[in-house]
Amino acid sequence: MLKLEQINKVFNEATPDEKIALDEINLELSSGDFVTVIGSNGAGKSTMLNMISGALTPDFGRIEIAGNDVTKLPEYVRSRLIGRVFQDPMAGTAPSMTIEENLAMAYSRDKKRMLRRGVDKKRREFFRSSLETLHLNLENRLNAKVGMLSGGERQALSLLMATFTQPSILLLDEHTAALDPSRAELITNLTKELVEKDQLTTLMITHNMQQALDLGNRLIMMDKGQIILEVGAEEKKGLTIDKLMAEFQRIRGEKLTSDKALLVV
């Protein structure tokens, strides 16, 4: 479903600030895979996600989504195949527009936008029934402006907007990191539910190791622009945080303790 081939990206090339963000990344997700990505700050996780979404273009390499070579396609064209949820709850929705209008825009993601009403009767019913699955009572606030919602509610809405048109790839960029623990748990459960319902191919970045272990069928660990560890479906079931830390230490030969602040245990 998703294929990354030898992706390279260097920021601020040929300056003292030069930084190799991605170094020969190869990754393949088959349909229905749910891969969690962990790694400390600056490991290249977000850069990789931005490559897939088209917000950044790789210096070298090739990206394929659902059999299409999208390497050169601009962000807005690729978005037809990709659902995205950002870390910032403010980023995924339009605050001055209503809940149903936001859903209508997401509904048009994989279609051509026309001069027809964004919200008609049929769609409103569909939006209402989709919102019911969130159990946040948003289905009764279709005409409320999204700016009035709490961070958790907005993130739940973003998640629904990203998934309810069944994208080929779902990209989650630390989408629970800005929420308090109880809200984060709610969104985590919701993620599990929505992804399982439609068997969505998903790539999720997280700083929370427990979450990385709980969710998904595969796990990768990144460091300094490389994928240093890939854990398959069978292996992942028996994985614990301690084993993961030990594994990192074995590969990199340095202790991860200093990263404990970054990788929430």
Partner: protein
């Protein structure tokens, strides 16, 4: 007094279309577009030139609208493809249009390339065409009789302009309301609200900005074309400060009528344009003010429309807090009293 207000209503309705254009760029797209000062004149220049060449005023007005759309698109291109700052794109387009407008009007002159104004004194305009149809209906008489009964002395010669303009403005309002709720319209609004989000939902924000500015300036040029026909002249200087008039209308309207829904906001903008004209007309009747002070008055109106609502909101908030506080302490005293009496009663029972 009545005639001053009457003509400001007439002008206000015409400027309301321009204000709707400014609303589209400033508020919906969040793009401070200064093209307006130029595209308003372009609309006037194109309409006046074509009318002088003998085209039907309706066709002349329609062409003016298209020219405005193109001007807006160029500003959009400068910003999105040329990566030029929004303000600068608009200013560049504005000064470029100044020369273009001179040349457009110059087409009517045989001995010079540019021309700074075109009078339309005896030419057929949309309003005179409508008048020919409207006058025999006898509506003017009926209205004037009614107002003379109310004791109004200076009666307008015709109500036709107000009538047709009201119809046109309402039509435009409905089109804008409808457009902003279509799939494309929603995406344009989101472009002004959260670019990152709508791009992740497969919308080409560059195209949306270009279309949005085109639509905005089409309305502005349309308004300019109508104003030239109303004032019976097109002039190269008629667009100066137009953007501020548009902004003033938007801000006044929003401050008075609110922005709860699109339908309400577009209404507020239209009403704001008319109110602005009336306030201006009344201010100019004050003895020590001169027509030359118009821009200063405009600035004062806009500043008050920006500051006063904040002041009132603060006062209202304070009053509400004080009231709630009183209520709460009253409740507390009441329950304390009740406890007290209960205690006293318990004692006396013993």
């Amino acid at each position: 007094m009545f005639s001053a207000i009457f003509s400001s209503v007439e002008q206000g309705i015409i400027f309301a279309i321009m204000a709707l254009g400014v609303y589209l760029s400033f508020r919906v797209l969040d793009f401070p577009d200064l093209t307006v000062d130029g595209s308003f004149v372009s609309g006037a220049a194109v309409a006046a030139t074509m009318i002088l060449f003998g085209y039907h005023p309706a066709i002349a007005t329609a062409v003016a609208l298209i020219i405005g759309f193109l001007a807006g698109c160029v500003t959009g291109l400068l910003h999105t493809k040329g990566k030029i700052n929004p303000l600068l794109s608009g200013i560049l387009m504005m000064i470029a249009l100044y020369s273009i407008n001179l040349r457009i009007m110059g087409l009517t002159s045989e001995n010079s390339i540019g021309r700074p104004n075109i009078p339309l004194l005896n030419a057929e305009t949309l309003f005179s065409k409508f008048q020919a149809f409207f006058a025999p209906l006898g509506i003017d008489n009926a209205f004037n009789q009614f107002f003379s009964m109310l004791g109004v002395r200076y009666l307008p010669s015709t109500w036709g302009t107000v009538f047709i303009m009201a119809i046109i403005v309402l039509l435009i309002k409905f089109i804008v309301d409808w457009f902003l709720k279509t799939e494309v319209g929603l995406a344009i609004r989101a472009t002004g609200d959260n670019k990152k989000m709508i791009r992740s939902l497969s919308a080409n924000t560059d195209t949306l900005v270009i279309i949005g500015l085109g639509f905005s300036n089409a309305l502005v040029a349309f308004s300019g074309a109508l104003f030239a026909q109303y004032a019976k002249s097109a002039d190269i200087g008629m667009g100066i400060g137009m953007i501020i008039i548009g902004l003033a209308s938007v801000i006044i309207g929003e401050a008075i009528f609110g922005t709860k829904t699109i339908v309400r906001t577009t209404f507020a903008v239209i009403a704001g344009a008319i109110i602005y004209r009336i306030v201006l007309a009344l201010a100019l009747r004050v003895d020590f003010l001169d027509t030359g002070d118009m821009k200063l008055i405009t600035a004062v109106i806009v500043i008050s429309a920006l500051i006063l609502p904040q002041y009132f909101e603060k006062r209202r908030e304070k009053a509400r807090k004080a009231r709630r506080h009183m209520e709460r302490s009253a409740e507390r005293n009441y329950s304390l009293n009740k406890e007290g009496t209960a205690l006293v009663e318990a004692r006396t029972d013993k």
